[in-house]
Amino acid sequence: MSQHRKQVSGWTAAIIIIVVFSLVPVAWIVFLSLKTPATATDGSFIPHQWTLSNYSDIFNAGIFTSALRNSIGIGLISTFLAVVIASAAAYAIARLDFPGKTIILAVTLGVALFPQISLVGPLYNLWRQIGLYDTWPGLIIPYMTFALPLSIFVLSSFFREIPWELEQAAQVDGATPFQAFVKVIAPLAMPGIVTTFIIVFIICWNDFVFAISLTSTTAAETVPAAISSFPGVSQFSVPYGDIAAAAVVVTIPVMILVLVFQRRIVAGLTAGAVKG
């Protein structure tokens, strides 16, 4: 019994350390966003004076709401397109045996690990020539490029686990190929597709390199880029509260996704990567 109690207190201590390690910076930015401008620089962790004015500030300023709209729109469109195309590719990789399958996977992985910044120069140049600079497609195209390989990678490791014999079994039982796919295979593939969608959306939502380089105005600037260039009241005052409030708002959707789909994201991120 005392052995057990010792274990319990040991684990309690470990859990407290993990919670502090993970949550202190999050708590800090939340607290900072709730400080009044006068107390924002007092260096205290917990605010002395509480306010929600930073939030009303940023939602009343055009720059943040348009950035939020750009982030959501660009993120969803890029993710949707990437996952649809990747599903077809991953289906081919999982179902068909064709030469060079491993090479395709190696190439996709190579692209995923490519330094994004290396593409920025040529894209900047090209986008300015053909008028895609500072537009939605101007960000959607590079996002898809980076999301596709990862989507194919994750999806093909999910698709590999699907018992494809079921499709034939359904056809033997009189289902048409289309019915077999829609009624049998699609439901089995759905968890993998949803997981991939979330992982890819998080990546697009997080991107900073392309956002800061390929946009310049509220037409396409996403939230990470907007936060980094938030204007202060004057040139010399840093709008701490506004930055913190914007940071909190942009974090909330991702945080909800991560916590709700925690188990699936873990499976998706680790699937395939570690099956040596």
Binding site: L105, F114, T145, V258, Q262, V266
Partner: protein, 271 residues
Amino acid sequence: MIAVTAYPIIDAVILSLQRSDLRFPNATKFIGLANYGHVFSAPVFWQDLLHTVIITVISVSLQFVFGMLLALAMHRVIFARGFVRGVALVPYGIVAVVAAESWQLAWSLQSGWIPKLLGLSGDPLSHTFGTYVAVITTEVWKNTPFMALLLLAGLALVPDELQEAAKVDGATTWQRFVRITLPLMKPAILVALLFRTLDAFRIFDTIYIFNQGAQGTESLSMLNYNTLLDRLNLGLGSAVSVVLFLLVGLIAFVFIKGFGAGVAPGSEAEQ
């Protein structure tokens, strides 16, 4: 997909062989490898390479140590497992720019609580050492969960019976960890280190948010960005891009060939 990625890569290579400066658009011409000569003879390139290597080595090492501890905790914890895993994933879900802002505002003497906590009178972000500590803290905090996830997947592959057998034979916890767990986890460890090293080597967001590379923290990606978009020198910037790309490729090659890290799901060979 290949067209979209291949075009900029090829274009980067071509641009890197030209004198191409957006401020002087009419002076564009083919100059062979001269841009590379400029890159390799510029002290700033070697300094930035050193900064990048320092940040990569220290932050990935710390991520590995903390990630391993976190993975062991997530694997073995006897209660509240879902809660622990959820909380531990929080830094992964934080937008990179937000993580950088949070730590930057926390370390800054102007606004932060860390200088006060440590009793510092000067601004830690006003000198090189303090800035490195802050940047590396940010990187470690943000990326340890991902490292832990990859390690956790490897940990799950270690059979419990083996641990039990060694325990019966009188092996201590440490001996079991070093002799059984680590060797069996080797593939997972290599993949985790490979992913994190390649990512850390491209560090950009954190440094941009902290100080855009001031205080001697300019990384290669930062140099790349500055040359391309601040100085608008496409030729020279593209040469930096190509060098950065080759360095990343070299790191991946060393990991895969040198240590035998295998990453290819769906290939029959590794099943």
